[in-house]
Structure formats: C-alpha cells, structure tokens
C-alpha cells in the first residue's frame, strides 16, 4: 500500500524552524490522536477525552493548537530540535526536510520485528534565509504566519476527506495501530525522521538505506 504524502515547503529564518515545524506537526497530531482507550471486561472499552491548548509562537505571528499532553509535546519538540540543530549548525546545509510518518505494524513470524507499514506522511521542507535587520524580521514573522495559515487550512481539508485510516483494532492489536505509551492521549503510531541535505538526493538516499535495512532485517 502506498502511503499518502503531503509536502509543505517553507522559507524561514533559523530561529523560526522549531515553531514552524511544531505548529504543523502538532496540528496534524491533534487530528490524528484519539482519547485514551480504557478496556473493561468483555472486550468493551471507553474512550477518554482529548484536551487542547493554544500555543503562541515567539518568532512567528502565529498561534496553533496542540493536544494538551506534556509528554507528547516533549517528545515531538525533542525530535524537532535535533533536526533544527542539524539544519542551523555552522556547517548546516541551509535546507532540509522533516517528516511525520504514521504507520501501522504488521506482526511477523518470530524472531523478526513487526513490519512497519506507513499510511500517511507529512513532510515539511525548509529553506533557511538570513535576515539583516529588525524590519525584515518583522516582515518575515508575518509572512511565515500567513504561510502557516494556509498550511493549517490545508491540513483541515485533508483531515476531513474520507481517506484511509487504520481500522479500530481489538484490544490485543491496539499496539499495532496506536501509540499507547502516553498517559493522556492515544495518537496513531508515528515517527519523525529528517534529512538535511538537498531534498532530491535525500529521498533516493533514504530509500536505498531503507531497502538495505529491510533486506538485512529479514
């Protein structure tokens, strides 16, 4: 099965990287999380409630909404900051991309690891620019805010299409679909990956790497 892929391209100043990526990924995760399942006896379960919180950006004229889960926020921010540091480092390439990939697991025969099948990938491609003065920064704050507005509207559009999402699993298979490690929310299984060289090389590179890895793991 081919995963759906959405690609966003943004041009930002170095210090806007974390917030730009977080606003997109948090909005996606907010839509792709459900309340915590609580199983009762006889296989029935109840679904918890997701809270949400407004987040004001410091370096962008923008406010986004995320699940109010500190753990989820911490994990995501950590992944993003690794990418951000690689991108902004002294010998950084000035452009790169980071992906939020939703996948489901498929059980394999022992002793092999379960196979990960991605079903939706959100990619943010960033190009860094250098700004010379506060006026340019002010313009950039607003410009990136406007760009993110478009992206949020697009995310809402995609989320409301009747596209494939994994079926609600039985209790025994819950871990194959959802990330149950969080105490307060239950997002679909996801991982974050990034690359900080020119995007065209990267996609080929990662594909080859992935092929080799997958061959070895069999």
């Amino acid at each position: 099965m081919n995963a759906r892929s959405q690609i966003f391209e943004l041009t930002v100043e170095g210090r806007q990287v974390d917030e730009a990526v977080a606003s997109i990924f948090h909005t996606v995760l907010f839509h792709r999380s459900v309340g915590k399942f609580q199983y009762k006896q006889e296989g029935s379960y109840s679904v918890g409630t997701i809270g949400y919180a407004d987040v004001d950006c410091d370096f962008i004229d923008f406010t986004y909404v995320c699940c109010s889960s500190d753990d989820l926020d911490r994990n995501l921010k950590r992944e993003i900051s690794v990418f951000s540091e690689a991108l902004r480092g002294n010998d950084g390439p000035g452009s790169g991309q980071i992906s939020l990939e939703f996948f489901q697991k498929k059980k394999n025969r022992w002793p092999f690891q379960p196979e990960r099948i991605p079903w939706e990938v959100w990619t943010v491609r960033l190009e860094l620019i250098k700004l010379n003065n506060e006026h340019e920064r002010q313009v950039c704050r607003e410009r990136v805010g406007d760009m993110l507005t478009e992206k949020i509207l697009y995310i809402a559009e995609v989320m409301n299409r009747h596209d494939y999402v994994p079926k609600m699993p039985n209790q025994s298979e819950l871990d194959l679909i959802f990330d149950t490690s969080y105490a307060d929310v239950q997002p679909y299984l996801f991982r974050v990956g990034f690359a900080t060289s020119t995007p065209t090389n990267t996609s080929v590179g990662t594909t080859v790497k992935k092929l080799i890895k997958e061959t070895l793991s069999l």
């Binding site: 409630t49 997701i50 949400y52 995310i155 105490a183 307060d184």
Partner: protein
C-alpha cells in the same frame, strides 16, 4: 428534509434519533469553540482518561453557560438537522460605538448529498469529532483571532451573535474570503462547516489618526450613523461596476474637472472657496446601488437635499440614512457631515469645503503639459551647450574653492 427519499426510510428510528442528537451537539459545541476562541484568552483544557456525560466527541470543550443558552435559544430545541444552517457571527465594536462584522461561521447541510450506508453511531460520531478538531485549529488562523487577542475595554471588544438561517455575508465588505473547515456525510445529507471572513480591515489603529478623529467625533449623537458601518452595506452588490460604487464626499466638489476649463489659465486654480463662485451644477446621477439592510433613519430632512443653498453640491447619500459619504479617491478617509445639534443646516460646510480643497490638491501642471520627446531632447542639447560655454566659469570657481581650502 421532506424531500428525503430512500435514505430516510432506511434509517432506523434509533439512528435518526441519534443523528439528530449528534448534530445538535455538534452545533452546540461548534458555537462554544468559535465563541471561546474570540474571548481574547488562550484556551487550555485537560485530557481526561474517562469521558463524562458532557464530553461530547471525545474532545474537552468547555461549556460557557451564556454561550450555551444563546446557542440553545437559536436552535429552539427542534430537530436541528431540519433547521440548519446555524451561523455564528463575530463582530468588533469600538468604544465609540462603531461596529464591524469580522466573520461568519456557518454549519449547514446539503440534503441532496447523502450516504445511506454510513454508520451513525460510530463513523458519523467520530467524523464529527474530527470536524470539531479542525474547527479548533482553523479558528486560530483567521484574521479575527489576532484581533480578538488584542481586544480591551478601552479600544474595542469582540461580540458574537448566533442565529439560524442563511449566513448574512453582505456586511463582510468587499473581497471577503470563504474557507471550508470540513464536511462529513451522514444518511440525511452532508454537513458542512465553513467560515467567511473580512479581508479589508478599515477600523485599525493607523486609520484613527489625528485628521480622521476630528471628523469622526461628529457622530456622538447618532451611534447608528457610523460611516464605517454604512460603508460596508454599500458593497452588497458585487456586480456594480467600480464607477457605480464611487461616492463623492459630502462637501467634495463633484464637478471639479468640468470647472477647470471655465477658469482662465493664468488664475491659480482651486482657490479655497472658489466653488462658491462657480455656477451651480447638477449632481451626478444616483448610482444604481443597493438598499441598506436596515430601515432608513430620517435625519432632519437634509439627506435628500442636493443643493444646500451654499453653493455646495451635496450628492444624495446612497443609503438615505444621513448625508454621510466618503471621498472616492481616498479609501481610508471617511467624512461625516457635521450635524451639530441646534445649529442651522450645514453651518460648517465652508469649513468642510476648505478642508477638502486642501486635502485633495489640484493636479500639477507638469503632468498636464507634457513636452514632446523632440522638445525634451532639444532642451537637453541646449542645457549641454550652456554648460560647455560656461566651462571656464566653473573651472575658475573650482580653483577659487581649492585656493580657499588651502588657506584654511
């Protein structure tokens, strides 16, 4: 809803009941999300491992009692699906009493697009949850969000209104945007949620500058006669051409261009009060524009007067509510006829005319008397020749300068 067909027949009574209930709560929660996002504060709700009875759609949306009451009053407790669309209107009101509609959120239903196979209790309920999440996200990115975060009792406040029926979008001004938040298929039709929002914000801090504030103060006694308010009603009809919608200021000399030939070339054009000397002119034909949304207000019989006896031509005001109108060539400038209580009509018109004369300066002659290319080239050649002949003088002057430098 009565035209519904097979789908409704197939829908079990229980499903129909559930669907109505879900739709009702979708509407109530949507109203809460929208209004709460405009209160000017950051919202934060907590995750709960166990949902309680009020936690619809597995989303922790607070219920503000006042908003709930308003929304319920609008819904009337009837079968909601049959009475949609539901609209939530957000507007801004300044301390002076001016108000401006910012956006209208609309939850509607398209009965012709239905999906009888969809499962009400599971699929529809979940998709309603996703729709509400999208609503939460989108409410933070429309222009009204930033405005609402900056509201305050001494500048402006954000107001809301909830009503059933088709959205009233004509007050959103020209070029408003419409954005689809999301939609979902149910057995009785497609529910869709969208927002239309103003893109031209004319009440903004930079527009309440010194000049305007002088003129705008004049509506103290008629809060309804806010010129800004009027202005948005005038743009109801998008089909009207630009020239139809151009309004001339209350004291503006609408016939200035025709007057120019009457004046001798050597006279300084556009002397203040010169229009008093000019022959009376007919005002331009009344634009084929739109009726105001609200009933007209009578204003001392002055509104219909075309010529006020002072020689100033006052075009009829389109909306007939007062003699408010605006200067056509300056988008941001709005002028109000100064209707001072107890004063005779238009006692201030001379001042107004003077103000306008000063405000819109006459065209420079440079632009009206463009020399031909040949003339320009000729001029350059002459200038160059003149420079060459005076070369000696320049050299001398340079030398003298050098000498004086050395002396110092």
């Amino acid at each position: 809803m009565y035209t519904l067909n097979m789908a409704t027949v197939k829908l079990s009574i229980q499903d129909k009941k559930d669907l109505d209930k879900f739709t009702k709560f979708l509407a109530l929660k949507a109203a809460q999300i929208i209004v709460q996002s405009r209160l000017g504060e950051k919202v934060q709700t907590k995750c709960k491992p166990h949902s309680s009875g009020t936690d619809w759609f597995n989303l922790a949306i607070r219920d503000l009692p006042e908003v709930l009451a308003e929304a319920k009053r609008a819904l009337c407790g009837e079968v909601v699906t049959a009475r949609l669309p539901l609209c939530v209107e957000i507007s801004l009101r300044t301390v002076e009493g001016d108000s401006m509609m910012l956006e209208t959120w609309c939850l509607g239903v398209l009965p012709e697009q239905c999906d009888p196979s969809v499962r009400v209790t599971y699929t529809v309920y979940n998709r309603m949850g996703i729709l509400l999440k999208s609503l939460v996200s989108v409410t933070r990115v429309t222009p009204a969000y930033k405005l609402s975060r900056r509201q305050g009792p001494d500048s402006y406040v954000i107001c809301y209104r909830i009503y059933m029926g088709e959205p009233q979008l004509h007050n959103l001004g020209e070029g408003y945007n419409q954005v689809r938040v999301g939609q979902l298929c149910t057995p009785v039709g497609t529910l869709h949620l969208s927002v239309s929002y103003r893109t031209k914000m004319t009440i903004s801090p930079q527009n309440t500058g010194r000049d305007n504030s002088i003129m705008l103060k004049s509506d103290h006694f008629h809060p309804d006669l806010s010129p800004k308010h009027l202005r948005y009603q005038q743009s109801e009809d998008n089909s009207a051409s630009l020239s139809d919608t151009i309004k001339v200021g209350a004291f503006a000399d609408s016939c200035r261009q025709q007057q120019i030939p009457l004046e001798p070339e050597l006279e300084i054009p556009n002397v203040p009060f010169s229009s008093l000397l000019a022959p009376r002119q007919q005002s331009p034909p009344r634009p084929s524009s739109v009726q105001p949304a609200e009933p007209p207000v009578e204003t001392g019989g002055g509104a219909e007067v075309e010529d006020d006896g002072n020689g100033n031509v006052t075009p009829r005001c389109d909306s007939r509510r007062s003699s408010c109108s605006m200067v056509s060539n300056n988008e941001d400038f709005i002028m109000v006829d100064l209707k001072t209580p107890f004063a005779t009509t238009n006692a201030n018109s001379e001042l107004g005319a003077f103000y306008l004369e000063c405000q819109s300066a006459p065209q420079l002659k440079t632009f009206s008397e463009q020399p031909t290319l040949a003339e320009q080239v000729g001029d350059i050649t002459k200038t160059l020749e003149a420079f060459e002949t005076s070369m000696q003088e320049y050299d001398e002057m340079l030398n003298s300068l050098c000498l004086s430098d050395n002396n110092n």
